[in-house]
Assembly symmetry: C2
């Protein structure tokens, strides 16, 4: 299967000012009417499974493509391609995050013409990806129930930077001590404006509401 | 509660060669007969809960202290102190990992005289902490069942660097698609010599075997 996956080895950025470079990339996305969503989370929070569920929910509403960033392996892009979603795999060469220029390298390989929604599945990491503006239009983070309700306390920047917090794996809520109210309170301490949605990517709960959120933001951007 | 926790704000290292500095720190630990264990994992894999279970299992066998490293908050050190475990909280000032000098700053504040086992609970992150030798005698990583069996494929360095892989949250194994054989195969691809243990920090399964592993390695080091 791996032979079918296009793997892009991105190079370390040559730009000193990543914020300026990210703004340039966003202007280009605006001009091309491409909505780029940066998806971040801990390893194993369910980014790929959520994107597979989203691809089904968005069918006929918004054309979705995915850039999978990982240090190694191409398993995530393989899963996307198997599900009929346009996808490429980005290898970061050991880097713990993507910056705007690395994202641009991925986008140019992916192809932006005619694209509507491109999701950048960032490296699984709650720390470093939040420090670098990728040029995305919106940032989304997934917190899975088994990780616990205290994550916004320990990883403040991730929650400050994100427009949307998706709590995944609600199907296993009964088996974990996860206090929704406490988690929401911690998250809003970090970012009073953050939107919060609950989903189970496994059984589909809440996926339509997540699709609606993305479609609304994409329409706003692409208008 | 937070007022009782000693919080150390560690400074960015001034040493250019971290590997050399880590070797110096390890020599000092050897001389003082202190076994330093570096514990790494994704956010929410259960590092703190495992340490609380270990503290009970090691009682009367090995004196354990804990240095909790986080970007923010002191919740982990508070939990340790409540359980009667000597603990300090290290704040990394936004840094995604600890290097040898940051570890040394923590150890000096913690106090090494008479210490037997000190666990460094590193920042929750599967990428960056594996890149920096902290000076620890052994490295251990926790993979929790909900994170999935493919993590050794995606985060190769973490598994290459660790002596022990502990799979936690076996109590929820029935609710997740986690293939033990596949995970072990991936992990041994990265590191043929890695030891693998299965535990549930929540219900105590496997904790005695984990305590035995640590006692054996500590005795070897402190002999």
């Amino acid at each position: 299967m791996e032979k079918d996956v296009r793997v892009i080895e991105v190079k370390r950025s040559i730009f000193e000012n990543n914020d300026q470079d990210a703004a340039r990339l966003r202007a280009e996305l605006k001009e091309k009417k491409v909505f780029l969503l940066n998806l971040m989370s801990s390893p194993g929070a369910g980014k790929t499974t959520t994107l597979l569920a989203l691809a089904r929910a968005l069918k006929g509403r918004l054309k979705m493509g995915v850039m999978e960033a990982d240090i190694d392996s191409a398993v995530d892009a393989e899963k996307m391609l198997e599900a009929g979603v346009k996808a490429i795999q980005i290898h970061t060469g050991g880097m713990c995050h993507l910056d705007a220029d690395m994202t641009r390298q991925g986008l140019y390989e992916f192809g932006m013409d005619g694209a509507e929604l491109i999701v950048l599945e960032n490296v699984g990491n709650l720390v470093c990806p939040a420090e670098f503006d990728t040029g995305a239009v919106r940032n989304m983070t997934i917190l899975s129930v088994p990780e616990g309700d205290d994550k916004p306390l320990k990883y403040p920047l991730m929650y400050e930077k994100c427009d949307l917090l998706v709590v995944n794996k609600t199907d296993v809520m009964p088996y974990f001590d996860f206090d929704r109210q406490r988690m929401e309170q911690y998250a809003r301490q970090r970012n009073p404006k953050i939107d919060i949605l609950y989903i189970s990517a496994k059984n589909g709960e809440g996926i339509d509401a997540l699709a609606d959120w993305i479609v609304a933001k994409a329409n706003e951007w692409r208008a």
